[in-house]
């Protein structure tokens, strides 16, 4: 199948989705291809933190400034995806005392609103903080739901004529002269080949940009830095908690709607596939985080996951991974003799919109499209004026049992009507329908049982409505269970092990789904 378009975006993470929306808003015809489902890379494996800039103020002021600006912008245009939790940087005995002063000074320099607090006040705000904290600084850190944000970007783009092809992998490019003339893709669900001829190609493939670049004959030096994170069963703090000292492992705690997410590590890996989190990594994260919030030492963790940050390694020999700037890079590939390929990589979730703006500026310049970028002003769908919810309302909306219909996911209160609606949207867009696709677009399967019960019910619904036939549903179910297993395996102790034992008993006992009978 052949597809012609003005712009092709490679990568369905938040950056790619942001690029697609920006292009669409500027009137550029665009297609996005993603080899899996949305947010399959770092966009689906992060803290969910909308940085205030505090973490970078001292060591990376350029990043910090970007965060300050984008925090305010996204807080407006993505208000429906953001919870304005606020954040605290807390110091423990032994932490460098100067850092608080350095922090305040740096905050001033980058325009970050920061307010010092006495330990007592911080403890009143967050009773679960370690009682021995010495001082604290309040900043406007916030929590952002990356899945909702990606979905909203893509939905808006599609609304404006863009096309999104999921489960469509770029397998090769043909280059003629100074242009990439063809991008060959494979629809992994149907086995169908799609050849795209695009005026401009944007690679927003996260840490895979080097592979994509290689297909066009360009070299992009990327280092892979894996970060692991843990999710708890319930929400332990209201605010983002950071350590008031130079950034290190395991020093961030972020409330994510109904849970707490804590991390992270920074480990060089050579391989992007089969990312795992070892028991040692998990233990390290628990130990570090529980120094700030002791309750985390005994908390029940429901999942561990890892994402890879692409670090543009131009100076990799000189810095540790944390020293490499977390700000982003846009490659125009003119040095490589190409005029219609651009690569955007690096950066962080908080700056996705800015990253998109920069690379779309480049692309539009090349296309001679003069419309300005409006993504800093135009709210995303679901984030219109007045859509912003305060924490209470937001929680009420999330937490309420659905008003009618059967409940499919009891852990996260996802009802039949919601599931049906998502299934309809997926079908309309030609996307595959399976429990994982539902999980990415709701909270189904994200709770304590990690899809153990609701995965089964969902597959039942899929059979009932004819979306799967024969053995497909059970195959999908098993894939779903194996997928969730990757995140469960590292945290299987205490109550989460009990949960898993119950589910293994049900699947291997009552259902004998592991048997070949």
């Amino acid at each position: 199948m052949k597809l012609e378009t003005q712009a092709l975006v490679i990568g369905g993470g938040l950056t790619g989705a942001g690029v697609l929306r920006d292009l669409a808003l500027r009137g550029v015809e665009a297609v996005l291809v993603e080899r899996k489902d949305i947010d399959a890379g770092a966009s689906g494996a992060n803290h969910g933190l909308l940085h205030s800039g505090g973490r970078y103020a001292v060591n990376d002021p350029e990043s910090a400034r970007e965060c300050v600006a984008e925090n305010a912008i996204l807080g407006r245009v993505a208000a429906g995806c953001v919870e304005r939790t606020g954040g605290l940087f807390v110091a423990l005995p032994g932490d460098p005392e100067r850092y608080a002063d350095d922090f305040m000074q740096a905050a001033g320099a980058v325009g970050l609103e920061a307010r010092p607090l006495a330990a007592r006040e911080a403890l009143e705000l967050e009773p679960r903080l370690h009682p021995g904290i010495t001082t604290a600084i309040a900043v406007p850190d916030a929590s952002i739901n990356p899945f909702m944000t990606t979905v909203a970007n893509l939905a808006d783009a599609e609304e404006r004529g863009a096309r999104v092809l999921l489960h469509t992998q770029v397998t090769g490019m043909r280059r003629e002269g100074d242009r990439v003339v063809q991008v060959t893709c494979l629809d992994s669900r149907t086995g169908r080949e799609i050849v795209v001829e695009a005026g401009q190609v944007v690679s927003a493939a996260g840490p895979w940009v080097d592979r994509i670049g290689a297909m066009a004959g360009v070299e992009i030096p990327i280092a892979y830095s894996k970060g692991s994170l843990l999710i708890t069963n319930s929400r332990l703090t209201d605010r983002v908690i950071n350590r008031l000292r130079p950034p290190g492992d395991g020093d961030i705690i972020v409330p994510g709607e109904t849970v707490t997410i804590t991390g992270t590590t920074s480990i060089r890996v050579q391989n992007l596939d089969h990312l795992t989190t070892s028991a040692a990594e998990v233990d390290l994260l628990v130990d570090h985080a529980s120094r700030m919030v002791p309750a985390l030492a005994d908390a029940r963790f429901i999942r561990a996951y890892a994402g890879v940050r692409p670090l543009v390694a131009s100076r990799s020999a000189e810095y540790s991974d944390r020293g490499l700037s977390r700000t982003f890079s846009v490659f125009d590939h003119e040095e490589d003799g190409l005029t219609n390929l651009a690569t955007i990589t690096g950066g962080k979730l908080t700056t996705y919109r800015l990253m998109a703006e920069r690379v779309v500026d480049l692309v539009c310049g090349r296309l001679r499209v003069e419309s300005p970028c409006r993504t800093a002003e135009l709210p995303l769908p679901g984030s219109e004026e007045g859509a912003a919810l305060d924490a209470r309302e937001r929680l009420d909306r999330l937490a309420a049992p659905p008003p009618g219909g059967e409940v499919i996911c009891e852990c996260e209160m996802v009802g039949r009507d919601r599931v049906d609606a998502i299934v309809r949207r997926l079908r309309r867009a030609g996307h595959p329908v399976d429990p994982n696709a539902l999980r990415l677009r709701s909270r189904l399967g994200m709770g304590s049982c990690q899809g153990g019960f609701c995965g089964f019910r969902t597959v039942g619904l899929l059979y009932r409505d004819g979306h799967v036939a024969g053995h497909e549903g059970n195959e999908t179910l098993i894939r779903f269970l194996e997928r969730r297993w990757g995140g469960l395996r590292p945290v299987l102790w205490g109550d989460q092990l009990r949960q898993e034992q119950l589910l293994e008993a049900i699947y291997c006992g009552t259902l004998n789904i592991d048997g070949d009978l």
Partner: protein, 430 residues
């Protein structure tokens, strides 16, 4: 609470504990059962597995459990079945099977064979002792006759198409349909398992249900329903439906909680109480007291006051992680009541395989209490920790009941065997 010294205290009220209590009572012992929770039966299908896969490395399905057991006992003397011995396994299983066959749930079996049950996912579950309500489930599959699987609108725990689609290639005559019971249930009642079960207990509901279903049967020679056919009266319910619909009717077990499992748990407990055995549920034991090389007493909490009971012998039937018999920290596994030795791989990375469902199974599942032939937990140097403490059931080391499909068997056999061994000790005889 009166103080008294029992012959036998059983800690744990699941299948293991109640089977042990029943055997102890038969032997004339003064026995009491104390349990924190109802045990695992409510999360099982209600059918009792003896063994169906051996060895688990190859996922070799064994149609004859006794052949598999003979092999297992020879190759794995430290497996709970190995500890009890083939003869002990046969005796225990026969005792309990006869009891269940003649009881109100009318279990049935074929002595030499495993039976295959159709599940809610359209897979087949091998098992050995099957309650009457699932008898026709086994027969329908074997016959491959035209069969209707019927679900209920709004009961999302069971989708007949899920089962039918997965079996259709081998069973072309299998059909799926659903009925809307809400009109009959009444508008205020949601189609939940408990509601449907209460409804099926009523003759009037069964008649109206049969009226709704009769026209849908077509050429079906069997009717399969989710396991909601009443509570303890299930056999009456099934027979009445069969009379009304003129086809055999069967249950398909659901996930959690499972009515057939609950029925069995309730029956076992009620029979024990009728036999004069006290069963204290909702009362977790917090401490066992030692005297020399013996366990002499158990302490459990009221609201904040502790109570105590003494016993000649104690059987620990507290289950694995689910029931709290074993507790997993981040890098070790412990037995919480006495700190009995449990050896687990030191790194959690080795506890589980990299896939959820792959063979042979997760190493952590084999971790548990190592015992002597008397089922007494051993200290690291190989002696029994206590002369009068036995362990039975899933807490024992050396098995993987989920992959062997041997859960009920291990509970029944070791519970039975532990009671017999405790019985021999009564009166202080070693």
């Amino acid at each position: 609470m009166e103080r008294r010294t029992l012959d036998l205290l059983i800690i744990g009220g699941g299948l293991t504990g109640v089977v042990a209590a029943r055997r102890a009572r038969q032997l004339g012992l003064d026995v009491l059962v104390v349990a924190a929770a109802p045990g695992s039966l409510p999360y099982t299908s209600g059918a009792l597995d003896l063994i169906a896969v051996y060895p688990t490395e190859t996922k070799h399905y064994r149609p004859s459990p006794w052949e598999a057991l003979a092999e297992l006992v020879e190759h794995e003397p430290d497996h709970p079945y190995g500890k009890v011995g083939l003869g002990g396994v046969q005796r225990a299983w026969e005792d309990v099977a006869c009891y269940l066959e003649t009881g109100p749930l009318r279990y049935f079996r074929r002595r030499e064979e495993n039976l295959l049950l159709v599940t809610a996912a359209g897979t087949l579950k091998p098992t050995h002792l099957v309650p009457h309500s699932m008898r026709a489930n086994v027969l329908a599959w074997e016959s491959k006759e035209p069969t209707l699987l019927l679900g209920f609108e709004r009961l999302v725990d069971f989708t007949p198409e899920h089962a039918a689609e997965n079996l259709r290639d081998r069973w072309p005559g299998l059909r799926a349909a659903r009925v809307d019971a809400s009109a009959v249930l009444g508008e205020e009642r949601r189609a939940r398992v408990a509601e449907l079960a209460a409804a099926f207990e009523r003759p009037a509901f069964r008649e109206r249900f049969a009226e709704m279903v009769r026209p849908r049967l077509g050429s079906a020679r069997y009717l399969g329903l989710p396991a909601v056919l009443g509570f303890d009266n299930v056999v009456t319910v099934v027979e009445d439906l069969e009379r009304l619909l003129e086809v055999p009717v069967f249950e398909i077990p659901l996930l959690s909680p499972s009515l057939p499992g609950m029925r069995l748990a309730d029956l076992l407990k009620a029979d024990l109480i009728d036999d004069g055995v006290e069963v204290l549920q909702g009362q977790p034991v917090v401490r066992l007291e030692r005297g020399g090389d013996r366990v002499v007493g158990a302490v459990w909490r009221g609201q904040s006051v502790e109570r105590r009971l003494e016993a000649e012998s104690v059987i620990l039937a507290t289950g694995r992680f689910f029931g709290g018999g074993l507790v997993a920290g981040r890098s070790s596994v412990t037995e919480p009541l006495l700190g009995l030795t449990v050896e687990a791989p030191p790194s959690r990375d080795s506890w589980h395989m990299r896939t959820f469902l792959g063979a042979p199974g997760h190493p952590i599942n084999r971790v548990g209490l190592v015992t002597d032939a008397e089922l007494r937990p051993l200290a690291p140097e190989g002696r029994p920790v206590f002369s009068n403490l036995l362990a039975a059931g899933a807490i024992l080391a050396g098995h993987d009941w989920v992959r062997e499909k041997s859960g009920a068997g291990i509970s029944v056999v070791t519970g039975h065997a532990a009671a017999e061994r405790a019985g021999r000790r009564v009166g202080g005889r070693p």
